[in-house]
């Protein structure tokens, strides 16, 4: 399987790219990965490319010489460790020629793009707290302490306190200082909908192949990939909670990504469909739309065995609004409120 794990095969070149590696142990492990791949398939030259690494070329040469002591000569003699720092490129034991650098740089570019972890700004914790409370209200759950709320949201107690103050009279407070929503706060929800692309870091993708896949085809591919942090929202999610939703099919696939850090991992998109490209024009139709769920607890509802989970009802509801399906969103909200427990 080593050959499968190599970043790129270009002609007779096996290329493995590593970004920001600063430990020789990591270099050694990557070197072995390249060597295994070369042992699997004869006739290749191996290139381990270190991008923006602080390891010196002399240390890399020592590492290459150490590898030479233990690896078969017909393999190690065909391996080059390259470094790329800005416009400067080096190689041990010998620098690659210009044509080879062109190929290596192309692979670096593609890997950089594929490394797609999107940096996000600090979460809007009012939005996070509001979503948690809305879901709890719809589920008829007991009031919650500020401490529990802070834990579920992934923020501090003072941050929760500020969010709770902002909800004003929409909030019920019990004698033991637990809180819950008194009713569905239309104004705050409208605020959430208006800002949802920003607070959820919504990222939209459109097909560029001229042969778009249907949302259900994309979903079945996504389920085969089996990413653990993903859930299905949008029309498909809303239909899970409300099968009578008045819409045939689904215009797009909404995916919620549970992000516990400041980064949203979008690598699964290339795995899902290489023909999906990000679109920034909000008027351009998107076939796959990804939203960040930024709290400690994802609130995803389990799917059937082997299937992806469902995003929470509020996520699905906001997805419908974002997709411009206002009538369906209203219908779904009416259903959620009427089906509310408690």
């Amino acid at each position: 399987m080593a050959l499968q794990e190599i970043d790129a095969i270009r002609g007779d070149k096996l290329i493995e790219v590593k970004f920001g590696i600063d430990s020789l142990r990591a270099v050694r492990s990557s070197l072995l990965q390249v060597a295994y791949a070369m042992a699997e398939s004869h006739g290749y030259f191996g290139y381990l490319v270190l991008v923006d690494s602080r390891i010196t070329d002399s240390s890399l040469l020592e590492e290459w010489n150490a590898a030479k002591e233990v690896l078969r000569p017909e393999i190690v003699d065909r391996i080059t460790i390259c470094t790329r720092r800005g416009r400067h490129g080096h190689g041990v034991p010998h620098p690659p020629d210009e044509d080879t650098w062109r190929i290596l740089d192309d692979v670096i570019d593609k890997e950089r793009a594929g490394e797609d972890t999107r940096r996000m700004s600090r979460p809007d914790y009012f939005a996070v707290v509001l979503q948690i409370l809305l879901n709890r209200w719809l589920g008829g759950e007991e009031p919650i302490t500020s401490g529990e709320l802070a834990k579920a949201a992934g923020c501090s107690y003072p941050t929760v306190h500020r969010a709770v103050l902002r909800l004003g009279s929409a909030l019920d407070r019990t004698s033991d200082r637990r809180v819950s929503l008194s009713w569905f706060p239309e104004d705050e929800f409208a605020w959430l909908v208006a800002l949802s692309p920003k607070v959820r870091s919504t990222t939209r993708f459109a097909d560029r192949s001229g042969q778009p896949r249907t949302p259900s085809a994309q979903l079945s591919r996504l389920e085969k990939i089996g990413h653990r942090s993903l859930a299905i929202g949008g029309v498909l999610g809303a239909r899970h909670y409300f099968p009578a939703l008045d819409l045939l099919g689904a215009p797009r696939l909404d995916i919620s990504v549970h992000c516990k850090s400041q980064g949203m991992d979008l690598k699964f998109i290339a795995e899902l469909d290489p023909a999906l490209k990000e679109v920034n024009d909000p008027r351009e139709p998107a076939s796959v739309v990804v939203h960040a769920v930024r709290r400690t607890e994802s609130l995803f509802a389990p799917g059937e065995p082997g299937r992806l989970p469902w995003a929470d009802p509020i996520e699905c509801l906001v997805d419908l609004h974002e997709a411009g399906l206002e009538a369906q969103a209203r219908e779904f909200l009416v259903h959620l409120i009427s089906a509310r427990r408690g």
């Binding site: 399987m1 050959l3 499968q4 790129a8 095969i9 270009r10 002609g11 699997e40 398939s41 190929i103 192309d106 560029r208 192949s209 001229g210 042969q211 896949r213 085809a217 795995e271 469909d273 290489p274 023909a275």
Partner: protein, 299 residues
Amino acid sequence: MSDVSPARVIGEIADAIPADCREHMIIIGSLAAGYHFFGNDSNLYVRTKDADSVLRPRSAAVRSGREIAERLISGGWKQRTDGDFGKPGSASTPDGLLPAVRLHPPGSTEWFVEFLTLPDVREPAGRQFLRLELSTGHFGLPSFEYLTLSTFEPALTPFGVYCARVEMMALANMLEHPRIGPDLIKNTTTKRSNKDLGRVLAIARLSNESSVADWPEAWVSGLRSCYPDRWRDLSRAAGAGIRELVDSRGDLLQAVETCNNGLLSSRQVTLEELELTARRFLQDAVAPLEAEAAAGSAS
């Protein structure tokens, strides 16, 4: 190049040859691909000039080739005379310089049928010739390394002749071009590998996705049957040419042009669209084939 209806051409060939020879004939190339995709639509045409027909088995190819060719010649089919190898060879012509049998149907020069046969697996890989002596002179039945794979388990047409399966032709084309080679198509600046690998992508684009997902299994079956000793190596190497094509904008552009002038003439593509077709194809068909080969070597 002419716009021809695949079903009409295959029907015309089948009608003109002896009935008992039909089962020995397998149509390959763009005509077979065109028949697979557009056979039921008489309004869709394939831009081609040759109907490549493989005669099987190799041991009977000379006999059936002679029988079929003589029947066609007596029916008014004419040997193509333009271009190189336009004249029949003689007993003194070396095998490698013999012209192929290329016959135009009566009253038309739009297209011609060309005969090939399967390679002798005991011989070195590459182009081989079997001498075919006809009433009009000496000809050669050429064969190519991966023709056996191209014609693996062909599909029977209602006309009684067979058509190669598109996925097998695609795999044979990929194996034929593990690299983007320098060979040009005669009188053009188009590389042969760009045209043939472009056809692989055209076939993938015209096929529905669920069938492409089934190709790796069919490929493994064909490779194991045709090349039991080296099917793993071939599986691992199969995608190299397509990967090189995708990474070379100039070569991919040539592939786009040949596709738009061939199988995709009625469904034209842009450079970006064909590139993305290639990336999906690598992900859905080539990677599982490579994984299968790797799994096979681990067990």
